[in-house]
């Protein structure tokens, strides 16, 4: 309270026009006031009755209720001023007031110790105090600061959440004949309890509304589309993104909307899924399905459906993300893959045909020229044939690589010892030419595609032979089962030129030739090997720890692909 000692005492008492009480209430209050002090119980009863009539105990319009209480108090206690003030941290701040003038306003602050409310806060109970006549010197123990201009004061603490939050007080500048009665103090305490309850409710309300607002903002700003539905396919709530996706600006417009009307194509499916989730009590996640709202943009979404129980009612939380872009990219990728495979088969046929013809033409030409050709012509024809053959091999390899991508692997038990024996028979002439020394350990029987695995082994052994300029090329095929019995490990070792560190991954790229050695080949061998091994669920790599001089290529096949008792 701010204080105005200059104020005169002859101001009107209860004539302010701003009272919130209507004429009937005023009349009732007059009759209560007429009850004599001797009839104190009746007075309190009538006053309480009026308090109840004017301010309901649970009232969501707390502000209005509190002002009404102040008006009632002013009348009953015969005071011109009524205040609800917050008194925390030593500051007196007016939160509500009912006054005959504009001397006090909501929000006005002063030091708590300069106000009569300080004594109420200290005492933690209702206090009444008056100044007898104008002779302030006769007052003993008055709580009213002399310069406040007040001559009567009645205040009670407001306990909110078990702590003194502030005070409810009434004050007058009129001299009273007698002090406030015990009944008046009791009534004040009851009023204070009610105001405190209303303040608490108002706080809870504003917290609730803040939380609701915050939740709404969160829900409206997440990229997901969110719905809460019942078991009848009815939408109870939707967030902004969900509403937008269905052609609505305002999510509130979807309250109690029927999914059957909004998604004519998909509603039945949605409802089936809803009921599955609600009946099983288990969420359904990652449902990928078309999204075809009547008024929104069509596409694809990925949806999670989670069962909820709200107030004993079955509810469903539906969270969907738009995956239309991803789906379109996927479709495009599938088309690209299909056309790539088509390209590979076209390449196989259409590129091989002219090469075959060119090769035949060279043969015909050689025949027609006959035996008396010059050395240079003979050499040119040889080179031409050779180049065309290389080209045909490359085209065929590309085709095989592409075909490998698209085919499903057919597997059967394969005895790798037999496979190796066949390969060695084929390679025997070149081994004999080069003086290759080959040794192999006993190999297992594995479940695999025998033809492809044979190609891998042949490729690796041929490479070990080709990229080798040792006097006596040595090649070894080693085999071991790893300690944890998860994979079978094969290693092909040679004493050849080796593979530089930087090239150990690059050699597996198609057409990547990393050697300076002039060697025949399509440049696709190791890429092919890697695809085959990967298709079997295995891995292949160049061992970085092979040491100087030579290469160790390791490939592993999962143990599950093998027949263990045949090894």
């Amino acid at each position: 309270m701010t204080h105005d000692p200059a104020r005169s005492d002859d101001s009107p008492v209860t004539t302010d026009a701003s009272s919130t009480l209507d004429a009937t209430a005023e009349a009732t209050i007059q009759s209560i006031r007429a009850l004599s002090e001797t009839d104190a119980d009746s007075w309190l009863e009538a006053a309480l009755h009026q308090l109840n009539a004017l301010t309901p105990e649970v009232d969501f319009e707390a502000d209005e209720s509190i002002v009404t209480t102040l008006d009632l108090g002013r009348q009953l206690f015969d005071c011109e001023y009524g205040f609800v003030a917050e008194t925390t941290n030593g500051v007196h701040r007016i939160a509500y007031c009912a006054t005959p003038d504009d001397q006090y306003a909501v929000g006005a602050t002063s030091a708590l110790r300069d106000t009569p409310c300080a004594a109420v806060v200290n005492a933690r109970s209702a206090l009444a105090s008056i100044v007898i006549s104008d002779d302030t010197t006769t007052v003993v123990d008055s709580v009213i600061p002399p310069d406040s201009g007040f001559t009567a004061y009645l205040g009670a603490p407001l306990i909110v959440n078990y702590r003194i939050w502030g005070t409810l007080s009434f004050a007058s500048r009129q001299h009273r004949a007698a002090s406030f009665s015990r009944r008046e103090c009791e009534l004040l305490e009851l009023m204070a309890a009610r105001v405190a309850a209303q303040l608490q409710l108002a706080r809870a309300n504003s917290e609730l509304s803040r939380n609701r607002d915050e939740l709404r903002q969160v829900l409206d700003n997440v990229p997901a589309r969110i719905w809460v539905k019942d078991d009848q396919n009815t939408i109870l709530h939707a967030n902004r993104n969900a509403a937008k996706s269905m052609g609505f600006d305002n999510p509130m417009a979807l309250k109690n909307a029927d999914t059957y009307a909004l998604f004519p194509d998909m509603a039945a499916k949605y409802h089936r899924d809803d009921l599955e989730v609600l009946n099983s009590g288990k969420p359904l996640r990652n449902i990928v399905e078309p999204y075809t709202p009547l008024d929104g943009e069509h596409g694809w979404c990925r949806t999670d459906k989670i069962p909820l129980t709200v107030d004993g009612q079955r509810r469903l939380l539906v969270v969907a993300s738009d995956i239309t872009d991803m789906k379109l990219r996927e479709q495009k990728l599938q088309q690209l893959n299909a056309s790539l495979q088509n390209f590979a088969s076209v390449a196989a046929h259409d590129l091989q045909a002219p090469l075959r013809q060119a090769r035949l033409l060279v043969d015909l030409l050689a025949n027609e020229i006959g035996a008396d050709r010059s050395d240079s012509v003979a050499e040119t024809l040889d080179t031409l044939s050779h180049r065309i053959d290389s080209m045909r091999d490359m085209v065929r390899s590309i085709y095989e690589l592409a075909a490998l991508e698209s085919q499903t692997l057919s597997t059967a038990p394969v005895d790798l010892n037999k496979v190796l024996a066949d390969i060695l028979t084929q390679l025997k002439p070149s081994f004999d030419d080069l003086g290759v020394q080959f040794c192999a350990e006993r190999l297992p029987t594995v479940v695999a595609n025998g033809a492809l695995l044979a190609d891998v082994l042949r490729n690796l052994i041929e490479n070990a032979c080709k990229y080798n300029n040792s006097e006596t090329p040595e090649i070894a095929l080693r085999y071991e089962r790893d300690a944890s019995c998860v994979v079978h490990r094969f290693a092909i070792e040679d004493n050849g030129i080796g593979i530089a560190g930087a090239d150990r991954e690059r050699v597996f790229e198609p057409f990547r030739r990393c050697s300076s050695l002039a060697v025949d080949g399509t440049g696709i061998g190791l890429a092919f090997c890697r695809r085959v091994i990967q298709a079997h669920g295995g891995t292949i790599w160049v061992d970085p720890d092979a040491g100087d001089g030579g290469t160790r290529l390791i490939f592993e096949l999962p143990y599950g692909q093998t027949l263990r008792d045949r090894v």
């Binding site: 045909a353 013809q357 015909l364």
Partner: protein, 74 residues
């Protein structure tokens, strides 16, 4: 009596290769050429049956497989 041969091949160069190879054979060969399966079916219906049919697989209009199906069902 010459051996009748029907060659079904759309590529002119490949036709030439086969004709050249046939020309080198010791026997007398009567070669008819058709550029696709449909034309050769027509020929087969009108003319005496050949002893040998040499056919490409990838052909316009009616490919080698379709030709074989049509031939066996005729």
């Amino acid at each position: 009596m010459s051996t009748r041969v029907l060659l079904i091949e759309d590529d002119l160069l490949d036709q030439q290769f086969v004709l050249r190879a046939m020309a080198r054979s010791s026997g007398v060969v009567d070669i008819k050429v058709a550029e696709n399966g449909a034309v050769s079916l027509e020929k087969l219906r009108r003319e005496p049956l050949p002893s040998v049919i040499v056919r490409d697989l990838s052909l316009p209009r009616m490919d080698g497989h379709e030709f074989l199906l049509a031939l066996t069902s005729d």
